[in-house]
């Protein structure tokens, strides 16, 4: 009977796999993709396709060159690719997703060992890279071919003397929540579509509610209580910019977020506070990408020092006594 298989426990496994998880994330991103195409036209679809194809290509290429096992079937590069495109304005040139994908996949992800081993979010890194490298292309928003300012950029001008809330001509709450006629990155404007994806991920148990909800709640509370230059519109600000996209899809990236519930709470609050600070006081109108990236840097420390209670572990005092 040498065809008998011997293995260690357990002998049964759950059905979930890396591929199935990534597939779920892709499905959850579809409503936002559809809305992106609806708002920004076929160019949005083109950028998304270029981005996904080049992400997968660079992953394949790197693994080919280094003779590592090919991992493109786990679909994580597809997720990264979609998110890179989601984080660009529709006015971006066709080559920008390619450069971004190369940076995300090769520098941010594969050099550190590939899936699960990178320490910063690859898609966000691509965005930060593109933003710093080609700032004007990355901050030119247009809807139906007309350049517009994003609600957050408008709000940002509040700190200049003489600018009042009324003079800003902000879009309505319904507009920012649905994304109709709002300038922004391809995937970020329709909060409703992103929420649908969130619910799907929750139902499929791909992510827990903790990071997104606490993140958004922190931003909401800070902008309601403290506000900016006299304006306290937490309910409005949470729908602006990339908060939903970031909180639901990027802050939750397994690889770059903490492991334990307690750690996740600290991380989400940190993201929220930084987002608020950058939005209100920083150079950039939007702080989601950078706040997640900055908190990514702290994840190893959070994972190291914020661990759950071990079953049956003695309280510290007792342990000391015992020793």
């Amino acid at each position: 009977m040498d065809n008998i298989v011997m293995s260690a426990t357990p002998h049964v496994r759950s059905k979930e796999s890396v591929q199935s998880i990534m597939r779920d994330v892709i499905i959850a991103l579809i409503p936002a993709t559809v809305m992106g195409i609806k708002f920004f036209g076929i160019k949005a679809l083109m950028l998304t396709v270029i981005s996904v194809v080049s992400s997968v290509f660079f992953e394949w290429l790197y693994e080919k060159i280094l003779k590592k096992p090919c991992t493109i079937h786990d679909l994580s590069a597809v997720v990264t690719g979609m998110l890179i495109a989601f984080n660009m304005p529709v006015g971006a040139s066709w080559w920008m997703p390619i450069v971004g994908a190369a940076f995300a996949i090769i520098i941010a992800k594969q050099l550190f060992g590939g899936i699960g081993q990178n320490f910063v979010n690859p898609a966000l890194m691509a965005r930060a890279f593109l933003l710093a490298s080609y700032p004007s292309a990355m901050t030119t928003w247009s809807v139906d071919g007309v350049t517009t300012a994003t609600p957050l950029a408008l709000l940002k001008t509040l700190k200049n003397s003489g600018v009042t809330l009324d003079s800003l001509n902000l879009p309505s709450l319904a507009q920012v929540a649905t994304g109709v006629g709002i300038g922004g990155c391809i995937g970020e404007t329709c909060a409703i579509a992103l929420l649908i994806g969130f619910v799907y991920l929750l139902i499929r148990k791909v992510i827990s509610w903790r990071i997104p909800v606490i993140y958004i709640a922190t931003v909401f509370i800070l902008s309601t209580i403290i506000g900016r230059y006299g304006v306290r519109m937490g309910y409005y600000e949470i729908f602006c910019g990339g908060l939903f996209l970031g909180a639901i899809f990027m802050a939750t990236d397994y690889t770059t977020s903490p492991m334990t519930p307690k750690g996740q709470i600290i991380y989400a609050i940190g993201c929220g506070v930084l987002t608020y600070l950058i939005r209100v006081y920083g150079s950039y109108p939007e702080g989601v990408s950078y706040s997640i990236l900055i908190m990514n840097l702290g994840v190893p420390l959070i994972d190291k020092y914020v661990v759950g209670k071990i079953f049956g572990a003695l309280p510290k005092v007792k342990e000391a006594k015992k020793a």
Partner: protein, 194 residues
């Protein structure tokens, strides 16, 4: 006044981070960042030395060099003061408290030849901070160094056994990692304007 001091402090830690945007003290940042505990020890030692050095160099500059019209000698004067100070503190700690020496003193020789210390002293002089501001900006700069090196050490611990290409092992991947950190820290830019 107090608010300004706080802002100087925070600006040093986050916005003008010495490591990630100013490039001062990179050698120990790359070298002593393999373990979080060591990195933290180094960070605390740097805070200690920089604070002392800021005070000492401020006094030397304003009480000796400026009155004598010898501003151009600041480099040599500062480095002498810093080196003597650090060496003395090291010897003192080594003798008086071996425990403190293990925790802090061992990092001291490393700090003499750390750009950050001289860098803060010189830039304080160039900006023209007063005594208190000089101290606070020193603490801020050192705090920024500590923040960066501790975060970096956490990251390096995590990637230590990763599947990194041979040519990138060691310093190259550390540099790339520092680059990614530096990109992330761009997010702080403009947060505080002095």
């Amino acid at each position: 006044m107090f608010v300004r001091l706080i802002l100087i402090l925070l600006a040093g830690i986050f916005v003008n981070n010495y490591i990630l945007s100013q490039f001062l003290g990179i050698c120990p940042f790359l070298g002593v960042s393999k373990r979080v505990e060591t990195a933290a020890g180094m960070g605390i030692a740097v805070i200690f030395v920089i604070t002392l050095a800021c005070a000492a160099t401020y006094l030397v500059y304003n009480l000796i060099l400026v009155p004598l019209g010898l501003e151009y000698l600041y480099t040599i004067a500062f480095i002498l003061v810093i080196a003597a100070l650090v060496q003395f503190v090291e010897m003192f700690i080594k003798k008086s408290s071996p425990a403190l020496y293990q925790a802090l003193g061992v990092y001291l020789p490393l700090i003499t030849t750390n750009c950050a210390v001289l860098g803060v002293a010189v830039s304080n002089m160039q900006v023209g901070y007063n005594f208190i501001e000089s101290l606070v900006s020193g603490i801020g700069a050192a705090g920024g160094f500590t923040l960066a090196i501790v975060l970096f050490a956490g990251i390096r611990e995590r990637i230590e056994f990763n599947d990194i290409p041979k040519a990138f092992e060691g310093f190259p991947i550390a540099l790339i990692g520092a680059g990614l950190m530096s990109v992330s820290f761009l997010g702080f830019s403009g947060l505080i304007k002095l």
